[in-house]
């Protein structure tokens, strides 16, 4: 016995872009509409005095909410490009509120790291949820990224690295 559910293409054109705005302290880049869950929020990191190779105002936290998959990944890629172009050199990707991550989403995270490093910056990942960490681990990417429990731990790690470098 086979049941069949077929759904027409009414789900398209549901996302509205309000643009990526480096320099603003906080902005919503994409907003959730209808059932597709994906949001990206941006805020500046507080200035970190002793951060290696960083001047003030170049640290940014991007918080991802919802499902980071093939549908969400392009938005994250565009946001990373906009940040690097706008001068961001320390990008913290906060995945605490991510409900789902797959390899398409991971590809955008890896691409982000590559782009930041190409500009002498760094991308650091906050990821406390075991289910999301498991996706990194299943791809061996926990050996590439330190998965921090919260943004405060990232800041502490950056300060510690700065102190080591200045000794």
């Amino acid at each position: 016995m086979t049941g069949s559910i077929s759904i027409e293409g009414a789900l398209s054109d549901r996302w509205s872009s309000v643009g990526v705005e480096p320099g603003r302290t906080e902005s919503t880049i994409w907003r959730e509409r209808d059932q597709v869950k994906f949001d990206l929020h941006r805020r500046d990191l507080p200035p970190i005095d002793r951060a290696v190779g960083l001047t003030s105002g170049v640290g940014v936290v991007l918080t991802v909410l919802g499902d980071l998959d093939m549908a969400g990944a392009p938005t994250l890629r565009q946001a990373v490009v906009a940040e690097v172009t706008g001068g961001t050199r320390l990008l913290v990707l906060d995945l605490t509120a991510v409900d789902f991550l797959d390899s398409a989403g991971l590809g955008a995270v890896v691409g982000g790291l590559r782009r930041l490093r190409a500009h002498d910056g760094d991308l650091m990942v906050v990821c406390p949820e075991p289910r999301i960490r498991r996706v990194f681990e299943s791809c061996d990417l926990d050996r590439v990224f330190v998965l921090y429990p919260d943004v405060g731990s990232v800041i502490a790690a950056v300060i510690a690295a700065g102190e080591r470098a200045s000794v």
């Binding site: 016995m1 086979t2 049941g3 759904i7 398209s12 998959d69 590809g107 289910r131 498991r134 996706v135």
Partner: protein, 147 residues
């Protein structure tokens, strides 16, 4: 002997990424819907959602590459000791064995591999992951068994 808890349920989606969430919702709900009789632990349902999402993503990409607008069919069966999901597309098909192994994760070349992790995930997390490709498309068959 295996007995069926939920007979085959099918979802036919247009080949667009926006529908992947619906695919995951279907398989997650089907795997959980039999309550205490569900064959899978919550962590296994999360793995099922992940591997099915990977297969459906590949299907969307494959059809997008050739401009095939056919629907992608996701068929899910829940038995008392496993869940079987088939993802059927009309793309050009691929050979699982021909997908190159990824370079070691700590080499710089590895970071160039932003794509192609999906097959590795399916093979690692599903108990069975088979691909049948032909001129009419590809069927990926994924099984997760109760522990």
């Amino acid at each position: 002997m295996t007995s069926e808890i939920i007979p085959a349920i099918e979802l036919a989606i247009p080949p667009h990424p926006e529908y992947l969430q619906l695919v995951r919702a279907l398989v997650g709900a089907a795997a959980n819907s039999s309550g205490a009789r569900s064959p899978l632990e919550p962590g296994q349902v999360a793995d099922l959602r992940l591997v099915v999402s990977e297969a459906a993503t590949n299907a969307v990409e494959a059809q997008g590459a050739v401009g095939a607008r056919d629907r992608i069919v996701v068929r899910c069966r829940v038995a008392d000791d496993h869940v079987l999901v088939e993802v059927i597309d009309h793309g050009p098909g691929f050979d699982l064995d021909a997908v190159p192994d990824l370079p070691d994760v700590e080499t710089p070349e590895r970071l160039r591999h932003e794509f192609g992790l999906g097959v590795a995930l399916m093979e690692r997390l599903a108990d069975e992951a088979d691909v049948e490709s032909g001129p009419d498309g590809t069927t990926v068959r994924l099984v997760i068994r109760s522990t």
